[in-house]
Symmetry: C2
Subunit: 440 residues, 2 copies
């Protein structure tokens, strides 16, 4: 992409309304624009990051056997009356009356609707297990939305819902998502820690939050250092192997890790001092098993092998990609701007033409742009008529992992400068070596 | 995908509420579920088609130089007061009050918001031309929603907005979208005809509808037969070549083509009888140039080369992917079910195991499933414990382009049957030949 043809509105000033680093950086780096309190437009660069995240989330959901569908944003109040949550949900639910004065709402979550879909079609245990997920915008009318997309009113959520004949099956479905989440966050370039969680208003008795560590995190977390080195289950993990999946979950959950709400001082005190980690974290995922909480009132039943009907056991599993963009920035930025982990970076390479109009730099940049494109790398080519200083600052601010600086001086020696954003390391390389360095 | 692990709820009975073929077939083939009047869930098979369509739409928008972003669904009423449309829009606008009693709405379209984004960042003609698009769910509170996703209340739209310094530039931006739309519909397997259109409530003085022919289409259309054979601009069309793009548009628009609203009896009468086409069609895209209609009241101005500020010239360009799914079915189905054009089919191949549990058919199916997967084909493998008749009916109903039937009888001669859904042609082939036949 040539920057001269792109839409990347960089802000020179730090927006006053932004209280945390990720919000400031998302506004400054042209990722985001606020349209109303807690409601944002995703500008092109931000959307690219969001899409990188959702692609990885989808791949890992699919790998675990979950099946994607898409539910609408607007729901009927009737469904929520069936579960009893219409009145219970409170002011966070955005309630709407349509032109016929029917009570509707903007979905804050989808337990009711997915249960409705399930009961419409599934009758037999033979069609289980089933895990259905979607990626859809949700709305929660927070009283005081702030922190940008970390806590916005309109936000993107991946929510998955599992259906099983009994608790034992549901436990396996839960474990599949547990493993899928470990893999998802690792692939996003994050170190996530599953922590036993309070089940809160969703109910049920088994729940984990996935927390990533970030100095600016919202909550205090406590864990044994070993949990940080526990290996991530590989891509070829057999999700049908019940015992193996349970052993992975057991391994992760046998090591102490808790948020302040669930913190056990005594258990933490028993950890050797050099293994104690007390830090700040950000919740990026949450999984629940809640049994028949919705299937019972909503009559989502299946016939078991014995011919008897029974309510299905359900779980729900959420990841917020729009929140993750902010969380990743909180975990990975410096004074100069964002430092994207490679897997979620909006572009792989920023190519800086330090003297546009000079035929040598133009040619070298053109060659690099094509060569990297052919190798499947997404390149943002800064071909604008701007001072080198402004280009350096923009490239650092937007945090693309690699920068290639093409100026007349080094080019006269047949070299370009390759800079790694995360470390600041610079190398003078020939054009061909630069391609290999960046594109492998 | 193994069907035993998928979620494909086929309906045996024809749903009574569905008045048109596409709606009936989308419900029966497990593509769609109604959640409220004019509000639908996209079941897994339907979502796959929707995604195939949006991928092609995106590729052609990007090819033409448009840049993707993503605006939120909920908008502030204030913005719409600036353009004067908040009061003018009427009851089709879903109006919402949030917990602080602020007036909001569910966006039915995005002219106001994109103009707001533009004016926030762009100051100079040097940043033009610019075309920004997004794919987002919209809501129009139709008084009597019907015909499934052909006219739903919550629907997906790709809307692009162009910004130019003057009318001449805007005309070129318009032509880019004109060509992008021709390419988009052709790639979707559709024959589309651009027809001069009334500009309606959006205003402006240059507009075309893109219509596809379907016997069950909603509107009457009239055209010269030659328009059906006009060549589609190739992938390497230079979108920066102003004169060339104008010549493509001129070629397409010089031949008579009109909907009944814009029909000119005299002009049609002048066409030789063997060239007259009078048929029914479905609108699948709509493009508008509307000058400074929004930029003037909303003060979206840029400084020209002469240093003077002036309002930008704008156009908007819409395609409804959720409507397209229905339109494609209207244009392509038979008694037995849907007949997907290859580029939008939810799967490439339906693989029917006619005797699951038989080791020979299981092995042959397993081999075919893997071999086709390795060649990049999406296979829906019907491994369910069902009668062959039910499998044939399902495969025909869901309309996947190729079927491979694997039964013990033909397999004893080392053969499987390959069926082309569109023509019903069948061939007995060896397993290896079947792979080549289907996967090229």
């Amino acid at each position: 992409m040539r920057l001269s043809r792109y839409f990347l509105p960089i802000l020179r000033e730090t927006p006053k309304e932004a209280e945390i680093a990720s919000h400031r950086l998302m506004l400054r780096a042209g990722l985001l624009r606020q349209q109303a309190a807690g409601i944002y437009s995703w500008l092109p660069l931000g959307l690219r990051v969001l899409n990188k995240i959702t692609t990885i989330v989808r791949e890992e959901q699919n790998r675990s056997g979950a099946v994607e569908l898409l539910m609408p944003t607007i729901q009927s109040a009737e469904l929520w009356r069936e579960s009893g949550r219409y009145d219970a949900y409170g002011k966070e639910m955005l309630r709407i009356r349509d032109r016929h004065d029917r009570e509707m709402l903007y979905g804050p979550t989808n337990e009711e609707m997915i249960t409705d879909i399930f009961r419409a079609y599934v009758r037999s245990y033979k069609d289980l297990p089933l895990n259905l997920y979607h990626l859809q915008w949700k709305f929660r009318d927070e009283i005081r939305p702030r922190f940008g997309t970390m806590r916005s009113r309109e936000f993107l959520m991946k929510d998955a819902y599992s259906f099983d004949l009994d608790q034992e099956g549901a436990r396996h479905s839960y474990n599949k998502m547990f493993v899928a989440y470990l893999r998802t966050f690792a692939r996003l370039g994050l170190k996530s820690i599953p922590m036993r969680a309070d089940t809160g208003p969703i109910g049920g008795d088994l729940s984990h939050e996935f927390i990533i560590l970030a100095a600016t995190g919202e909550s205090e977390v406590f864990c044994h250092r070993d949990v940080l080195d526990t290996p991530i289950p590989p891509a070829d993990t057999d999700f049908d192997d019940v015992a193996h999946l349970q052993s992975i979950v057991d391994k992760w959950t046998s090591v102490y890790a808790a948020t302040s709400e669930m913190h056990d001082e005594a258990a933490f005190a028993a950890i050797p001092d050099d293994k104690k980690v007390s830090a700040r974290g950000i919740e990026v995922g949450h999984i629940f098993y809640f049994g028949t909480k919705y299937s019972e009132p909503m009559k989502a039943t299946v016939t078991g092998p014995d011919g008897h009907e029974r309510p299905v056991h359900m779980g729900s599993y959420g990841i917020g990609p729009s929140r993750l963009v902010a969380a990743i920035i909180e975990a990975s930025h410096d004074e100069a701007g964002i430092v994207w982990p490679d897997p979620v970076a909006p572009f792989d390479v920023a190519l800086l033409n330090l003297k546009p109009g000079d035929s040598a730099t133009d040619d070298a940049c053109g060659h690099l742009y094509r060569a990297l494109g052919l190798r499947g790398r997404d390149v943002l080519y800064d071909d604008r008529d701007e001072r080198p200083g402004a280009k350096f600052a923009t490239a650092d601010l937007i945090g693309v992992p690699w920068q290639i600086l093409v100026g007349p001086r080094s080019l006269s020696e047949g070299k370009v400068e390759v800079k790694r954003r995360a470390t600041g390391e610079r190398e003078l390389l020939s054009i061909e070596d630069a391609v290999v360095r960046v594109a492998g």
